[in-house]
């Protein structure tokens, strides 16, 4: 029996096929990993079984859940399916919780609705679920509002909410993108226990390491179509489709060496190539590739019997020279809480001390909830803190008024979620104009500045007129960087800048970061991904429970 089956599924939104002729199967107990660049249609495919796509989306083909066509279900049955038969969590862990309701209440919803437990048992179940997600203090998490817990904690709570209704199938879109590898693997190990009792999982992820370690099957999407679908072990031992090979090659592996992004960009759904959709970027392309879409043979949609193995890797690049000390952080601590006398004060950062030089990128690593973002917020002066922060020889606490604002503009943030920080009603040019308007720069100077910032952030100038929602995740992230650069900063604080990006976009971004370092900028790079960090940073601070436990070199071991 199959739990979920999509047969020839095509999803059309605004006249474009986001997903085309998709065949997909998840059996009970099986984990299927759906991988591919952003915009490949993974999220569309994951949303379809819940019938939660935009109202203008048109489906054709069939989606069977437990052998019933879900489009024949009544309203009541659909509601029972959502959260009950199929538990789902979506990519935006930051936005998937209602900001004015406590986490516990939101996890309890599906338990009450689908399992009809009485309130006390419900509460106990919430705590149990949070605990299985590796959260140490489930009681506090349950009582917190979403903004009061860290990104990784929120993501785990979201996964708990997807499992709360006791589903037979879990659809998880990037469930671990904000987590350090150890925690991510631990959570998948927890899920393995549920899989033994029959839970099927459709996992959408950019993290090939995670997919390699836990998936039974791997399905690679490119521009809305399946290009390879094979058993996971065989796939990772030898990916056969040229696109799959390039994708694997764009994962960072050697410290200091930048991974190679796949050349070119994914095709615009409005003008797809007539034949193989990967042809414009494919190194093994032949004239025949442009005539017809290659048929699927033995799980691979490519004309070649055996594609030549891609050997992509960028030439090693030397590290830029370190300049003088730019930032000195001395004994900085942060405490949260204390609002309305209700929440007790909690110390999230103890006595942090370190220095950062011009042209240096310093990684901030550590498990989820260890205080990485808190450290970044303290440097950005977004939270109240104790201790001293000295930038360019000035103690920031001693400054007032305009001098303080000017000094703080020299430190610019870029956050994990690029869509959250860019107004969706803006075009790229408008988004970039904001800091210039704030700096009261005469309008005539704007175009030159924005062009230069775009170029430094590695974006083509033609994107200026594009509306923000039309950009891919990687492009949005680089627009956010360009915007930060327009404030003429000496220091960028990047909080998990790559965790929402696919490998190829990540490779692009890492390259951009190295360029910025060479131009003398300093960067604080907050991340849970040591391999990616090691390609842009030589050293990193390791945090644990709010303390800096070491400053370590990344190029050894």
């Amino acid at each position: 029996m199959t739990l979920l089956a999509m047969q020839g599924l095509t999803v059309e939104i605004a006249g474009r096929n986001r997903v085309e002729q998709l065949d997909l199967q998840v059996r009970p107990g099986e984990l299927l990993a759906l991988v591919g660049e952003s915009g490949a249609g993974k999220t569309t495919a994951a949303l379809a079984p819940l019938l939660l796509l935009a109202p203008e989306a048109r489906l054709s083909g069939r989606i069977l859940f437990q052998n019933r066509d879900i489009r024949s279900l009544s309203r009541g049955e659909r509601q029972a399916l959502r959260g009950g038969g199929i538990g789902a969590m979506f990519q935006d862990a930051l936005e998937s919780f209602d900001p004015v309701q406590r986490i516990g209440t939101q996890i309890a919803g599906p338990i009450r609705r689908h399992r009809r437990l009485p309130p006390r048992a419900c509460r106990r179940e919430v705590l149990r679920l949070l605990e299985t997600m590796g959260l140490e203090d489930p009681w506090r998490i349950a009582r917190s509002y979403p903004h009061e817990i860290s990104g990784g904690q929120r993501q785990r709570a979201l996964l708990a909410s997807a499992l709360a209704g006791g589903p037979a199938l879990l659809i998880a879109d990037e469930p671990t993108s904000g987590l350090d590898p150890a925690t991510a693997h631990a959570i998948l190990a927890q899920l393995a226990a549920l899989r033994r009792s029959g839970l099927g999982i459709l996992l959408v992820t950019h993290d090939l390491g995670l997919a390699g370690a836990h998936a039974d099957m791997v399905q690679v999407l490119y521009a809305g179509r399946t290009v390879e679908r094979r058993e996971a072990g065989a796939f990772f031992a030898a990916p056969r489709h040229p696109y799959a090979q390039a994708l694997l090659a764009s994962a960072p592996s050697i410290p200091g060496v930048l991974p190679a992004p796949i050349p070119g960009t994914a095709p615009d759904p409005a003008s797809l190539p007539p034949g193989c959709r990967f042809a414009p970027r494919c190194a093994a392309r032949e004239p025949a590739c442009d005539t017809a879409y290659p048929a699927m043979r033995a799980g691979v949609a490519c004309r070649l019997e055996t594609a030549p193995r891609h050997a992509l890797s960028a030439p090693a690049r030397s590290w830029p020279a370190r300049g003088e000390v730019l930032l000195a952080v001395e004994g900085v601590g942060v405490r949260y809480g204390g609002r309305w006398l209700a929440a007790p004060l909690r110390t999230a950062l103890h006595d942090a001390t370190f220095v950062l030089h011009r042209g240096e990128c310093l990684g901030i690593l550590g498990p989820s909830g260890s205080g990485k973002s808190t450290l970044g917020r303290a440097v950005l002066h977004l939270v109240r803190h104790t201790g001293r922060i000295v930038l360019e020889g000035q103690d920031l606490a001693a400054l007032r008024g305009p001098a303080r604002r000017a000094a703080l503009r020299r430190i610019q943030p870029v956050f994990q979620d690029p869509s959250g920080s860019l107004n969706p009603r803006f075009t790229v040019a408008e988004a970039l104009a904001e800091p210039l308007r704030l700096a009261r720069l005469p309008r005539s100077l704007w175009p030159a500045r924005t062009d230069a910032a775009l170029a430094r952030a590695g974006l083509p100038a033609r994107l200026l007129g594009a509306p923000v929602p039309a950009l891919s995740g990687g492009e949005k992230q680089r627009v956010a960087i360009a915007r930060a650069l327009l404030a003429d900063p000496a220091l960028l604080v990047l909080d998990e800048p790559t965790s929402a990006l696919d490998l190829s976009s990540q490779a692009h971004l890492l390259r951009t970061i190295r360029d910025l370092l060479e131009a003398g900028l300093a960067i604080l790079w907050i991340s849970h991904d040591r391999a990616a960090t090691a390609t842009v940073a030589r050293e990193a601070l390791r945090l644990e429970s709010g303390r800096i436990v070491e400053r370590m070199a990344l190029d050894r071991g």
Binding site: S96, P99, V100, G109, P110, S161
Partner: protein, 316 residues
Amino acid sequence: MRRLAVRISAGALAILLLATLAFLLAHALPGGPAYAILGLRATPDRQGALDLQLGLDVPVWQQYQIWLRHLLHGDFGTSFAENRPVADILPAYAANSLLLSAAGLLGAVALALPFGLAHGLTARRLPGRVLGAIELAFYALPGFVIGTALIAIFSGWLDWLPASGDADLRRAVPSLADRARHLLLPAATIALFSFAPLARYVALATDEALASPFVRAARARGAGPAAVLFRHALPHALRPLVTMLGVSFAGFVSGTIAVETVFGYPGLGWLLWRAVLGRDYPVIVAIVLIGGVVTLIATLVADLCAGWLDPRAGFE
């Protein structure tokens, strides 16, 4: 806490300025109290005598000093027209006004919530557009037009409700039902002219909440339409509603004054109108002062409530 203290002292200063302005404006009105009281009997001698009696014979700045000193001691002065302390006259009118505005405000919220929710739910479809147009119409209509129209329909044409006053004068002790009947039309007028902007904010917040990822996530967890509306959309609509109530309070107060005069309802607004006609300076200034204080308190309370409704407030 420090922010609160700063706001309260800034507000107190603003009110003092407002009262001073009211004092000066009242004195700048053409004619004077003596003339207004004496009417046709006014002769220069009689006016001079009365001015002396009312304390209007000294220069304005001295009057201001005296007034301010009394005010700081909690003394609003004596009404020229009734020759009684203002502090004795006001409470009865203030109680009437309080009743009327409370009823009007309640009515406005009772209209704005369902109206705004319905508008927000259907924002991108025809019903939403129609509701939006209705809101705009009510927003544009001045209070006295609505009031006059209600009087024409419900007391002129249908003859269901009284057109003016606060109670039937033919009875010695007005019954509660009678008071309520007199309250109905003016309160409805206030509700009708002030609900539109509130409804609009509720609609915006509802629409935004419904389009947000957390609502999609809630639906993925099996939340039905009712749960989405009441658990997720409504709480997000309440906060802007409360903030708007605070912000629009000044307009609400001035609207109440207009409505009271249209309906001859004996509240502070009506009293203010009469005091202006009679050049009764102490009463005018006292009412302006009360209006300012009430508005200040309303905005403060609304801000506090909005913060309390949103756990994120106070966090950068």
